[in-house]
């Protein structure tokens, strides 16, 4: 043994032989190749990664560091990439990898037998699927093992045959596909979507279905979601982090928040649990779960009182006048002797404006200089009118061009004070509060009482301003909405904290011109009334001029995505280069209806509080299905299948009846619909002719991670075992749809899953096709977390028998066309029903609530009912179309979000200098190879082709009448290729499709385009909306910001049929995004399971756990009407009493024992305990920003209000 003296251990290089062994580790580090790629689904991090290859094997990954730098004074983006991303390489060679095509054995046996009997594959499929015994045989086996390897050709033939059969027998709109978050691997998403749209199939949305769409965003801004790139957090001086766990869910961005703090920004974190991000907080507000709405309502009370009414901060008031609907006039209507707020006053009602074009869609402000109403430009009426150059935010009258000085309030200039009825949903009562009004006369001599949106907001938020009525006496008035003391009852947070917060907010915004930022996420957005909670927070931003400035605004991060090169991508993904109409379905409605989850509830008013007094014919009552049916027939929402007949047959019938041109076919169909001969499928979803039949799932876990009501999916889609025990309840409640005593099970004939890992969806599918991983293919990736675009690249070729998604769907297309040559040889005509669409003139289709079915208005396709389009399909050439960039875009140009530009010259250039394909005597730019698709997208998108950005601005200039092309001058010569992206990340160009300005390294902040260049928001008034005057919103009491109580567990029907077994406790069951997975991906790999606890544990408060005798790491059984989960408990005081957390999202594929409570069957995953419930007022359409767009507008798949019982697992069995 050596002496313990100093330095004896230091070995210098002068004795190098002793150090020769060091090559032991040097050899490990040495590698052969580094390739740039990223991770292609669900995670929106969009991190650039270096994939290391050694001996032809991917060994590990490290983050790339070469992001272009932003402007001086902002921290850099490097490195980006988290614990999940860096564990991905495990999958490539793991035992969980799907290396070969698999088929369910029961199906494969039947198929082989049928093929032996039928030389024609379509005939073989027909023989199986029309034989109930055979069909049931493979359906019952779903999820129960018995996979068999199958040759690619055999698998492709079976899948193609099922599609041909389904198109012939039922119609193409019975074939559906689901794949989430296109931005993360956009070519892979596009592959399946393109095949489906060429067929006439249905693409299902994900953003609303995941409940990640914040409906308050379209409500307020007419925008799906548009948020700050994470570097812009650094510009914020007050960070309010609300229901968003940055460490967990925004791991590579979190440092911007941490770094902002060291630059003097203050950070408030709102979370019921001591969430991971709370460690960064200056103040952790341990708010009661789901009560964020109450908090922000009271914050607005303080802001309005102190900063608006008392201090009259000029910046705040100017902002409200210029950029919001606050000064607009609202009509007060007298109902039963009481005034209540109605719709915005329409310009055409007044004599001066009665002749203006689209006068129902132009609105009025009171001009304080001239003392009369004036009609500012920028509203939807101007957007869709014939006069160019008037869709802007300049405060001038649209008729006489006189200046407008908007009067926000009539407080000091009124014709009277009127008591207006408002709702207090918390207490279930109505209030009357004084509001200053003006009296006007309409063109036809009717007397009108109007006030401003601003005055109504003052009344609603309870700022009395000396007016009479049920106004609170002060901040300490607990009884009246919406004081700090009132909020305390719901939030559990002292009023002093709230007042202090509101004052810090107001002061910071005043001093910095709006640099207050709300970072918000699923912790708020997944509640049933999320739109109200969000709106309240948004109002605090709008009151203080925080939207459309760097460092200020609403930064919503959950499932958000930004497919930056949208125009060209959408053309390819939805085959718009070939097809003039597409079938895009909002998944929440589709699953709610087709999985029969609607059958397990009664009236939505059981849990959704609406105003007590309702007008006759109000839609604010009854069963959600009734509104769903109404939404479809009025063209508000899509629904597929469309009709109870094959749409190809409908056209044939029309032709037989003498309809030759498309108009006549549509006319025939309208007559058939009106007469009831042709029925909407949604009105009888359980009839066999209305079922979806074939389902493609790729890049997602549609049967588990995102399947709210997973057990009902198993039952009604798959026909396999379910652990649900809820019973039908809708028998007499749902009036607009046909009731079947027995709900059908096993609607799906075939479920096809493309996957690189055996996840729950793969395990339950009929055919599993081996997909290349994200390190094995070319693709593109973009995000809203930063402003770069990244490639996915093949570090190694697709392993074993796997193929890229593009190659797989291309192969299916080829096989499909081969079979179609025999079965569907000639062009066929398809009648496609489409909903009224956002960013089209359909935004001004339905000024009032009229139902053609009840004879209140004529049935006009595309106006009062769904649009109907005749589309010609060439099935035998479907494969050729798939691999060719079609000619339609050359003629029509490209665009998105209302933009448009021509591309003919670039199309022709591509024919000259890019690979092409030729068939039937014509040549097209090739989309055969994945990389060719990448290049086509990059070449034709405005964010990657500067000339096209320039043209796109030119197009908007005409509409707006203000100079915009200067935004594209600098980048006009930029062109981008896939190879260049592999070399280095590229920062996007300014584009009018997006609302943030990013030149010179400026951080992307949404709506800076609107505030700085006066381009309107895509809303009714063109301004940001405080007030939502859709008649259905008024019926539901959500025209004004408000607070609605959380649905109660009893009425919400999670525990109606469940009996409490043993020592159980009822808890609210929350499933926030977790640390060890992105949805279910990564969570099952050996790295993540090791760093967690080998299961997705059930987090429970220590005192709640003690009540049921549970200690840390005990197995627990969690159950309700919908299903059961068995996992282990993580016991911590970090979780408050009354709630529990199981992080989204576990798989049933590993470490799940059986459940004693449900007959010792395999327990489920988190979605075994949830169920879909749609919020009906989010279904309206054809009205400004309340107009459908895929992934953009519609009800969402909320799940936070779920309740469960939990007990200690009596017996562990596998």
């Amino acid at each position: 043994m050596k002496p313990n003296g100093s330095l004896s251990w230091i070995k210098d290089e002068s004795d190098p032989k002793l150090r020769g062994w060091e090559e032991f580790y040097r050899n490990r580090w040495q590698h052969d190749k580094i390739v740039r790629s990223t991770h292609g689904v669900n995670c929106t991090g969009s991190c650039s990664w270096q994939i290391y290859v050694k001996d032809g094997i991917v060994t590990w990954e490290m983050q790339a560091l070469d992001y272009p730098s932003l402007q001086a004074g902002l921290p850099p983006y490097e490195p980006r990439g988290c614990q999940r991303g860096i564990s991905f390489s495990w999958y490539l060679y793991s035992p969980l990898r799907v290396k070969y095509p698999y088929a369910r054995g029961a199906l494969l046996d039947l198929w082989k037998k049928a093929r032996a009997e039928h030389s024609d594959p379509v005939a073989a499929w027909k023989s199986l699927v029309e034989n109930p015994e055979a069909r049931t045989r493979w359906q019952r086996a779903r999820g129960k093992g018995g996979f068999r390897r199958v040759a690619w050709d055999e698998a492709l033939e079976l899948v193609a045959a099922s599609c041909i059969y389904t198109i012939q027998k039922h119609g193409p709109d019975r074939i559906a596909g689901f794949s989430p978050i296109p931005a993360m691997s956009m070519i892979s998403y596009a592959s399946g979507a393109r095949l489906l749209q060429l067929m006439g199939g249905v693409s299902l949305s994900f953003y609303d279905w995941y409940c990640d769409l914040p409906p308050a965003s379209p409500e307020t801004w007419g925008e799906q979601t548009d948020v700050h790139e994470s570097a812009d957090w650094y510009n914020a001086k007050l960070l309010a982090v609300v229901g968003s766990n940055l460490n967990m869910t925004r791991t590579p961005d979190c440092h911007f928040a941490a770094e902002a703090r060291h630059n003097g920004s203050k950070m408030w974190v709102f979370a019921p649990d001591f969430s991971q991000v709370s460690k960064y907080a200056d103040e952790w507000v341990s708010i009661n779960a789901g009560q964020d709405g109450a908090w922000w309502m009271a914050v607005n009370h303080v802001l309005l009182k102190e900063f608006h009414h008392e201090k009259k901060v000029p910046y705040f008031l100017d902002y409200a006048k210029k950029y919001t609907d606050a000064p607009y006039l609202v009509e007060l209507r007298e109902v039963e002797g009481v005034f209540q707020p109605g719709q915005l006053l329409r310009a055409k009602r007044l004599e001066k404006y009665q002749e203006v074009e689209n006068g129902d869609w132009k609105f009025l402000m009171w001009d304080e200089a001239e003392g009369r109403p004036k009609m500012p430009m920028g509203s939807s009426g101007f957007r869709w009118g014939s006069e160019p150059g008037k869709w802007n935010l300049i405060l001038k009258d649209g008729v006489d061009s006189s200046d407008i000085r908007p009067q926000l309030t009539f407080l000091d200039n009124h014709d009277g004070i009127i008591q207006v009825r408002l709702d207090d949903f918390a207490e279930g009562k109505t209030l009357r509060r004084g509001v200053p009004v003006k009296q006007l006369e309409t063109a036809c001599g009717e007397r009108l009482t109007v006030t401003t949106v601003y005055d109504l907001l003052m009344a609603q938020y309870g700022v009395s301003r000396g007016l009479e009525g049920d106004y609170p006496a002060g901040y300490d008035d607990e009884a009246r909405t919406f004081t700090p003391a009132w909020a305390e009852k719901y939030t559990g947070i002292g009023r002093d904290v709230l007042i202090r917060f509101a004052r810090e907010w107001g002061h910071t915004a005043e001093l910095t011109q709006g640099k207050c930022l709300i970072i918000i996420g699923a912790g708020v957005n997944h509640w049933y009334h999320n739109n109200l909670m969000y709106r309240a927070g948004i109002h605090a931003l709008m009151f203080c001029g925080c939207v459309g400035v760097n460092g200020g605004g609403l930064a919503h991060y959950v499932g958000q995505e930004k497919l930056a090169p949208m125009e060209s991508w959408a053309a390819i993904a939805f085959a718009r280069d070939w097809m003039p109409a597409v079938r895009l379905q909002n998944a929440p409605s589709w699953h709610y209806v087709h999985t029969d989850q609607w059958r397990y509830e009664r009236d939505f008013t059981d849990y959704h509080t609406v105003p007590v007094r309702q007008v006759r014919d109000s839609l604010a009552h009854g069963h959600t299905m009734d509104l769903q049916a109404r939404a479809v027939r009025s063209g508000w929402l899509p629904f597929y299948p469309q009709f109870n007949r094959n749409p190809l047959e409908v056209v044939k019938d029309a032709e037989a009846a003498g309809a030759t041109d498309p108009e006549a076919v549509v006319g025939y169909a309208v007559d058939q619909i009106k007469s009831g001969n042709l029925k909407f499928s949604v009105e009888d979803p359980d009839a066999a002719e209305n079922w979806p039949r074939v389902w493609f799932i790729w890049r997602g876990n549609a049967l588990m991670a995102s399947a709210k009501g997973h057990e009902y999916f198993l039952k009604h889609y798959l026909g396999t075992h379910t652990n649900a025990l809820a019973e039908d309840m809708a028998r007499d409640a749902a009036k607009e749809v046909k009731w079947h005593e027995q709900a059908p099970q096993a609607k799906m004939d075939l479920v096809v899953d493309l996957n690189f890992r055996m996840d729950t969806s793969a395990l339950y599918s009929d055919i599993v096709l081996p997909a290349a991983t994200w390190y094995e293919k070319a693709d593109l990736n973009s995000t809203d977390m930063h402003s770069f675009i990244h490639p996915l690249s093949a570090a190694v070729p697709p392993c074993w028998e796997s193929k890229s998604d593009w190659q797989i769907f291309r192969s299916i297309a080829r096989k499909f066309s081969e079979l179609a040559a025999k079965h569907l040889p000639g062009p066929v005509r398809d009648l496609v029903a489409v909903p009224l669409a956002h960013d089209t003139p359909a935004e001004i289709a339905q000024p009032d609530l009229k139902d053609w079915r009840r004879g209140e208005i004529a049935a006009i396709p595309g106006v009062t009912m769904p649009g109907l389009k005749v589309v010609t399909r060439d099935y035998k050439n479907l494969y050729n179309q798939f691999i060719s960039f079609g000619p339609a875009v050359r003629t029509t140009g490209l665009g998105a979000h209302g933009t448009h530009y021509d591309i003919a010259d670039f199309y022709d250039e591509a024919l000259r200098d890019r690979p092409t394909v030729a068939w039937e005597g014509k040549e097209y730019p090739s989309l055969f190879e994945d990389e060719q698709v990448c290049d086509t997208i990059l070449r034709f998108a405005s964010v990657t082709n500067g000339e096209l950005a320039y043209r796109s601005y030119q197009g908007i200039e005409t509409k707006v009448g203000l100079p915009l092309v200067q935004l594209a001058e600098k980048g006009r010569s930029v062109r981008t290729s896939y190879k260049e992206l592999q070399a280095k990340p590229l920062r996007l160009l300014n584009s009018p499709m997006w609302s943030g300005l990013i030149e010179n390294g400026r951080a992307y902040s949404p709506f800076t385009y609107n505030t700085e260049l006066l381009v309107p928001w895509r809303t009714l008034t063109g301004r940001q909306h405080f007030y939502l005057d859709h008649p259905v919103y008024i019926q539901f009491g959500e025209h004004l910001p408000t607070y609605k109580p959380k649905p109660l567990p009893t009425e919400y029907a999670d525990l109606r049929f469940t009996r409490e077994e043993g020592r159980s406790i009822m808890l609210n069951y929350l499933t926030p995004h977790g640390k060890w997975h992105i949805h279910s991906t990564y969570g099952d790999n050996q790295r993540m399971t090791t760093l967690s606890r080998g299961v997705e544990p059930f987090w429970i408060n220590e005192r709640d756990a003690a009540e049921i005798g549970v200690v840390d790491n005990d197995w627990v059984e969690i159950y309700n009407d919908h299903g059961v989960v068995v996992t282990r408990a993580a016991v911590s005081a970090r979780i408050p009493r009354g709630i529990s957390i199981q992080y989204h999202s576990p798989e049933r594929t590993y470490s799940v024992p059986v459940s004693p409570l449900r007959g010792y069957r395999r327990a489920g995953g988190h979605n075994s305990l949830t169920r879909t419930r749609l919020k009906p007022n989010l279904m309206v359409g054809g009205y400004g920003q309340f107009t459908f767009h895929f992934n953009y507008w519609g009800p969402t798949g909320c799940n936070r209000d779920t309740h469960i019982l939990v007990r200690k697992l009596p017996e562990l069995r596998w």
Binding site: H255, R1093, Y1150
Partner: protein, 496 residues
């Protein structure tokens, strides 16, 4: 003066996300193989918590590090009561229970299960025995488990807190945790090296990296016992112990170690430190309360002409001296004094330093209503949820003074930047706070910039390793260029 260069490190705990990306970067490259499954050269702990291996900080259990006895430094693990006979059985050695039994799952069952009445699932299997396992522990078992009665409450650093203070930590008013990432500290006075009976451990002369020779090691595991941070691990497959190598193959090629590179919270800094090797023993023997300051005094001013002259005499390359001058670690540790060593009382003189974290303001509860007591925009250090005493036990050998100093300076910088960027704080007040925190405006700007705006090159200043000079001692670098890589790789052999 014997001037040596040491690659040293700072982890800024206020920025740490607790994401473990660092851990996996390391695992992927270095310990993803048989016998090494359970090794986490880099791990991240939730504090308060018991860590990995469990309760590693408790030297009454593990007997790691050094003690001073009769004016002499002795290894605790081989002190008076423990003799060389412990070489065959060391009772203070961590067992598999203190680590965990690594596991995987029977994933193939999902593909191979025959059709049955119920859904198959992949059961957990031990990676040691291959048999089904009931998972009872993992390398990160108490992750985010703040306020757990089982784990957090057993944190050894809570020992000197009053029962009342300890209780508070798990109630809403004080509920709190932060993250504590750990790698080998590449100590100046490494007890692992001193303990090795085979002389397999050494500290590299050129950069101070502590390495374990995979040829010489005979698997006695004295190093495992002696390291008070439990950062040496025994590979049961090769029969050799292994430890963090600070990614020397990357450092030698000018790249940051993998865990540093991958730190997405951007909390890590790395750079050269010049120190006086002659004073190590003297410093390591100082009383607890003097240790932090004495340790800091070992670090030499790289601009001091006398130091430069001595460094040159000792054979340090000019480029290395320049790197030491640019070292971010030097600034954090020596100039600003806001980075502190972990458990300096173990006396190994760790060369990894931590900026202690801030935490949210305390709250009080009245019935069901929670309120915060903060009067100011940014609350006072004594109102933070993490008790100062707890941090002092981790980073100050129990001495609160150093920790208070570090936190106070961070706060003052925040006040100052607030005054600059918003203006709701009077600049005069901000400057007074800076003065009270022993910080000039220039220093505040520098701290702010290196904390918030730092680039990769700011965080990692890697001294040139001059491999050509090292190789030259063995062979002609030109010949090396021509022949590098030719030859046969051999697997490590058990024994010698």
């Amino acid at each position: 003066m014997d001037v040596r260069m040491q690659i040293s490190m700072v982890f800024h705990l206020d920025k740490c996300i607790g994401c473990h990306t660092c851990s996996i970067a390391c695992k992927n490259i270095w310990t993803d193989r048989k016998g090494a499954e359970y090794m986490w050269w880099n791990n991240v702990e939730t504090k308060p918590g018991t860590g990995f291996p469990t309760l590693w900080e408790d030297q009454s259990k593990y007997h790691g590090g050094w003690e001073v006895e009769n004016g002499k430094l002795r290894l605790k693990s081989t002190g008076k009561t423990r003799t060389i006979f412990n070489i065959y059985h060391n009772p203070s050695m961590p067992t598999m229970d203190d680590y965990y039994e690594p596991w995987t799952y029977d994933y193939q069952h999902l593909f191979n299960a025959p059709e049955g009445p119920d859904q198959p699932t992949a059961r957990p299997l031990s990676m040691v025995t291959g048999k089904p396992i009931d998972i009872e522990a993992g390398p990160n078992w108490d992750d985010d488990l703040g306020g757990s009665p089982v784990y957090a409450a057993n944190d050894p650093n809570l020992a000197e807190l009053t029962p009342e203070q300890r209780l508070q930590l798990s109630s809403v008013e004080r509920l709190v945790f932060f993250y504590f990432p750990r790698i080998c500290n590449h100590c100046l006075n490494p007890s692992c090296v001193a303990a090795c009976p085979s002389g397999a451990l050494y500290k590299r002369g050129e950069d101070g990296i502590v390495l374990l020779d995979q040829r010489r090691c005979r698997g006695w595991r004295a190093c495992v016992a002696a390291c008070p941070y439990k950062k040496v691990f025994y590979n049961w497959n090769t029969g050799k112990s292994e430890k963090c190598i600070l990614c020397f193959p990357r450092l030698e090629t000018g790249q940051a170690p993998a865990c540093f590179h991958s730190c997405v919270g951007r909390i890590r800094y790395l750079g050269a430190i010049l120190y006086d090797a002659e004073r190590i023993e003297e410093v390591a023997k100082r009383p607890n309360e003097e240790l932090v300051e004495a340790h800091r005094s070992l670090i030499l001013d790289p601009y001091d002409p006398a130091v430069i002259a001595a460094a040159r005499r000792g054979g340090l390359h000019d480029s290395v001296i320049e790197a030491a001058q640019k070292s971010p670690v030097y600034k954090f540790v020596k100039v600003w004094k806001i980075a502190l060593p972990p458990h300096i009382e173990f006396r190994t003189l760790p060369m990894l330093f931590y900026v202690p974290p801030m935490s949210p303001v305390m709250a009080s509860k009245n019935g069901d209503t929670v309120s915060h007591t903060s009067e100011d925009l940014f609350h006072d250090i004594d109102q933070s949820r993490v008790p100062l005493k707890f941090l002092a036990n981790l980073f100050g050998a129990g001495n609160e003074v150093m920790v208070r100093y570090a936190l106070r300076k961070q706060k003052a910088v925040r006040w100052y930047r607030r005054a600059v960027t918003v203006g709701d704080v009077e600049m005069e007040l901000a400057q007074r706070m800076l003065r009270e925190a022993d910080c000039s405006v220039e220093e505040a700007e520098a701290i702010y910039r290196l904390t918030s705006l730092c680039t990769f090159e700011d965080r990692f200043v890697i001294p040139p390793m001059h491999r050509e000079e090292a190789l030259q001692m063995l062979e002609d670098p030109l010949e090396h260029k021509q022949g590098a890589g030719f030859g046969f790789l051999a697997a490590p052999r058990r024994g010698l």
